[in-house]
């Protein structure tokens, strides 16, 4: 091995490692950083990558070096063998010990990061999140000590800079509640309530994604997290309370069918222009022209008649979860809107 080769090799390893590490830090693949925790997790990713890169570069460089230096060439005798080196206890101890040390340090650091990311905040706003095929239901339980008692199934609207505590569960199969901008997710499992905490720092609209395969409509189970200013949020809450008390009401009293359609997430699967429904998992309701009885049956017992070309996946729980008045209002609304 020539000295110039050795130097060239070392330079190549150092330069490519430095370049790759710099690239990792310079280029950001992640979604927006919504919470203080987001930054910590991104930082952890960059650290892990930066530690890994030299290992990878060294391994590849060593391999290439061996290929160049020790490859047989036609001038070698045909039965040429390598040197009978069987091992070296010292080298083996080093390459057991060094990775062990690196791993332990990374593990401890990650533990610290986890503790920080999951730390409890004072006076959080508590929101119950209930997954259901293929929608998320939210119940605003309390804000600090103030009771809220608002339910919604459409967008999740929260005030900025407020510590949030989600209590996640499911009505049916397992779902997973993921807010990529917060870098956090947690499964929703029937019979178990699991917490998830973060504090959004930026106003805006962010994705909520279900990441646990939950059936045919899994890929449509996407929602929005709207982070608004405190004033806007208070306004929104007031509107919800006046509009949604007792399951929603119209000026003439009684529940509002359109709001029930929206708050139960019907639009996630069914297309209906009148209520901004845009889903394609289930049959479109625009121009469906169904009678009130047909609509009622399709809501209470969705498996009774299946529209051609669609899977039998609509939850059969609405018959129970909606009150009689709500059901009547929804049927009335659909019969009119879907003519």
């Amino acid at each position: 091995m020539k000295a110039s080769h050795r130097i060239a090799g070392i330079v190549a390893v150092v330069v490519s490692s430095v370049f790759l590490i710099a690239f990792t830090y310079a280029y950001d693949w992640f979604p927006t950083q919504l919470t203080p925790g987001s930054g910590k997790i991104d930082g952890l990713y960059k650290l892990l990558t930066a530690v890994s890169i030299p290992f990878f570069v060294l391994i590849v460089a060593f391999m290439v070096f061996c290929l160049v230096e020790f490859r047989v060439d036609p001038s070698d005798p045909p039965d040429k063998d390598g040197e009978p080196i069987h091992g070296s206890t010292r080298i083996e101890l080093i390459w057991t010990g060094v990775p062990l040390l690196v791993i332990l340090l990374l593990g401890i650091y990650s533990w610290v990061v986890l503790d920080k990311v999951e730390a409890k905040q004072k006076n959080p706003m508590v929101i119950n999140v209930t997954g259901q095929q293929y929608i998320w239901n939210y119940e605003y339980v309390k804000n600090g000590s103030e009771k809220l008692g608002v339910k919604t199934s459409s967008d999740l609207v929260v005030p900025v800079n407020k510590p949030l505590e989600f209590r996640i569960t499911s009505l049916d199969v397992i779902h997973s509640f993921w807010v990529p901008a917060a870098r956090l997710k947690r499964d929703a499992t029937a019979g178990v309530v699991t917490p998830l905490r973060f504090t959004p720092e930026k106003t805006g609209s962010y994705d909520i994604v279900c990441t646990e395969l939950c059936g045919v409509g899994h890929s449509t189970m996407r929602g929005r997290l709207k982070v608004v200013s405190t004033a806007d949020w208070v306004k929104w809450l007031k509107a919800q309370k006046s509009g949604g008390a007792g399951g929603g009401g119209t000026p003439g009293g009684g529940p509002d069918g359109k709001q029930i359609f929206t708050s139960n997430g019907c639009g996630g699967c069914h297309k209906l222009a009148a209520a901004d429904g845009a889903g394609t998992t289930g049959p479109a309701l625009d121009g469906a022209g169904l009678s009130a009885d047909e609509l009622r049956e399709s809501i209470v017992d969705p498996g009774a008649k299946i529209a051609n070309g669609f899977p039998n996946v609509m939850p059969a729980t609405f018959g129970k979860s909606l009150s009689k008045e709500e059901l009547d209002a929804l049927v009335k609304f659909l019969a009119e809107a879907g003519k």
Partner: protein, 633 residues
């Protein structure tokens, strides 16, 4: 016809499959009528039972049980004349054969068939994902496609193909004339097409094929249409196959090594399969258990996973991953063995740190049982389990690292022949290191919380299973093809195959890391438009990746028929299988060789691994003598 129906074969198999199905049907209906249950003809329970009895009928018909039935009937046992040993024409590969070499080829060819089925399924759903929105398949079919892709690749390809390669090579390597239980070996193989056909048949089931992922998480799988039952039963057959094979390997390795072949003189492939088989024997029953629970829930209305009744669906994940994490090592440890053989042989160097290589395999076996919950960091389990599981998971990087570094050490000052198997081995090291690095990253709890169930995970396990295991399988096939068939594979085509696979593999799965970080969940038929560009690239690359395997198929078919005849030892290797003719004689050895040294003493003057005695050529065929298999009286 009457004669053909009485002797084992495909006619009898067809008939007995029908009888098995009718029996299962009658059994369920009869029992339900006997106990006066409301619904006497209930589809789910009938299907569950028929899917078990019909394949058993098939296995009887094809002849897997003939000897045992003969024995159970109390007739005098006879000395096996090994008339079902060896293959004289291609037809012999389509009947029950007790020759480990025939079984090995049956395994490899069958599993590669399922590999292509799984690959076609993958390309179909990659075509659907080529742009956002719905292209040409609906969500149910999409879910079925990726579920079946994973199920075929894992249960009918990755796990059994290693059993196939080892079936062929391992007895030769340790100087055994066959496996310890040749008839059980044949049965294990025939379980496999049963499992594969059941999974394919699920596409015909009402409601479509199983569509709950290969993980079949409860309670979704409890409620899924009937295709799920096909999956649950297929897994039982595949699991029985791998347990039986693992027991066979363990007994063969422990009791049938050639004289002088101590454990510390065994080739690394034997060590790797020893370690893998331990994992299979201890872990596989857990997936059998998990799928039994699902079957019971579905057919008998049991409540394993129903929270309302006091069941626990997180329990499913614990039971499932207690198998399915070790399954990852089941799918890669034999590959480690292959890579050790290939690198040592083609670099003409003793394996660097042979004992540490063996110990690191055992360390992975032990640690492999203590990491299952890292698949559940975001599941609804107790939080405290996460930190210990994170540390044990990260620790596995240490013995794995030892193996990687030792392979590199093996190349140091070698005389490297960059032949096709060696290219695959080096490709394996680079890709597997990447998969290992992303593995350590996803072991880290806070980072995993972000990326779990995203495309980052999809990228990670494809780097481990395709860039890792699949590359080792190709390395193994290119390495032992001359031994198995007596023909050399075409080198140029092999190099083309390697480079195209290597490039398009990275183009297909590399970008998945990025879209995963950006926020694309896995297992979705539709995705947000911001991921469209990368998805198009991945889809086109995946088609090219699929096409590149056609080169391999062409190469194998043409070389097998008319390739250059292989010498007995084209790589000048030292392990025993290379010291006999290619392909090996029907009973492997005239007489079991004596092992006098280590298997990788390249460059050591005068070193020898095995000594063969050469008896006088036998006059005509003598009366067969017992191989010492299975006759107690």
């Amino acid at each position: 016809m009457a004669v053909t129906l009485r002797s084992p074969g495909w006619y009898r198999a067809a008939l007995s499959t029908l009888i098995g199905a009718a029996f299962g049907c009658g059994l369920v209906v009869g029992l339900r009528a006997l106990f006066g249950w409301d619904e006497i003809v209930q589809a789910e329970s009938i299907v569950s039972v028929v899917l078990i009895t019909a394949p058993l009928g098939f296995l009887y018909g094809i002849g897997c049980f003939d000897y045992w039935i003969h024995w159970a009937a109390g007739r005098p046992t006879y000395v096996d004349d090994h008339s079902d040993h060896g293959a004289r024409s291609w037809k012999d590969y389509f009947r029950v054969n007790t020759d480990h070499k025939v079984i090995g080829i049956q395994y490899v060819v069958t599993t590669f068939f399922f590999f292509f089925v799984g690959g076609l399924l993958a390309m179909t759903f990659r075509a659907e994902l080529i742009e956002p929105g719905r292209q040409f398949i609906d969500a149910q079919t999409f879910n079925a496609l990726f579920s079946a892709h994973a199920a075929f690749m894992i249960f009918t390809f990755m796990v059994p193909v290693f059993a196939g390669i080892a079936n062929y090579v391992l007895p030769l390597m340790i100087g055994a004339p066959d496996m310890a239980f040749p008839r059980l070996n044949a049965l294990s193989f025939w379980f496999l097409p049963v499992a594969g056909v059941l999974m394919m048949a699920s596409f015909l089931a009402p409601g479509g094929a199983f569509a709950t992922g290969w993980t079949a998480y409860a309670p979704l799988s409890d409620q899924a249409p009937m295709g799920q039952t096909f999956f649950a039963v297929a897994v039982q057959f595949a699991g029985a196959s791998s347990i039986a094979t693992a027991i066979n390997f363990l007994v063969t390795i422990v009791t049938m090594r050639a004289p002088g072949m101590t454990f510390w003189r065994m080739p690394m492939l034997a060590w790797a399969n020893f370690a893998t088989s331990l994992l299979v024997v201890l872990a596989t029953p857990f997936i059998a258990g998990s799928q039994f629970m699902i079957l019971f829930d579905r057919a008998l209305g049991m409540n394993f996973f129903d929270a309302v009744q006091g069941g626990d669906s997180v329990m499913y994940q614990h039971v499932f991953w207690f198998y399915s994490h070790p399954a990852v090592y089941i799918m890669v440890l034999p590959g480690f063995g292959i890579i050790s053989e290939v690198i040592s042989t083609h670099a003409r160097k003793p394996i660097f740190g042979y004992r540490m290589m063996a110990f690191s395999l055992l360390a992975i076996v032990v640690l492999g049982f203590s990491v299952w919950a890292h698949h559940m960091f975001v599941a609804s389990m107790q939080d405290w389990i996460r930190i210990p599981m994170m540390f044990t998971t990260m620790l596995i990087a240490v013995p794995t690292g030892v193996k990687i570094f030792s392979w590199l050490g093996t190349m140091w000052r070698g005389a490297i022949h960059l032949r096709v198997p060696m290219m695959w081995a080096l490709g394996f090291i680079t890709m597997f290191v990447l998969g290992g690095i992303s593995g350590v990253m996803v072991a880290v709890v806070p980072f995993d919380i972000h990326v779990s169930d995203t495309y980052f995970i999809v990228a990670h396990f494809h780097y481990v299973l395709f860039g890792g295991s699949m590359f080792t399988i190709f390395a193994g096939i290119y390495h032992w093809f001359p031994k198995m068939t007596g023909r050399m594979l075409n080198d140029t085509l092999g190099k083309w195959h390697f480079w195209l696979t290597f490039i398009f593999f990275n183009l297909t799965f590399g970008p998945m890391h990025l879209v995963g970080l950006e926020g694309m969940p896995r297992r979705v038929a539709d995705y947000a438009s911001e991921f469209a560009a990368w998805n198009a690239i991945m889809s086109f690359a995946s088609f090219a990746l699929g096409l590149s395997t056609l080169i391999f198929v062409y190469n194998v078919i043409v070389s097998w028929r008319s390739g250059k005849p292989a010498e007995s030892n084209p790589w000048r290797a030292q392990t025993l299988e290379w010291q006999i003719s290619s392909p090996p004689p029907i009973f492997n050895f005239d007489e079991v060789p004596t092992v006098v040294g280590h298997p990788y003493e390249y460059g050591v003057p005068g070193a020898r691994h095995g000594i063969f005695k050469h008896p006088e050529p036998l006059a005509a065929a003598k009366a067969p003598v017992p191989a010492g298999v299975g006759d107690d009286d």
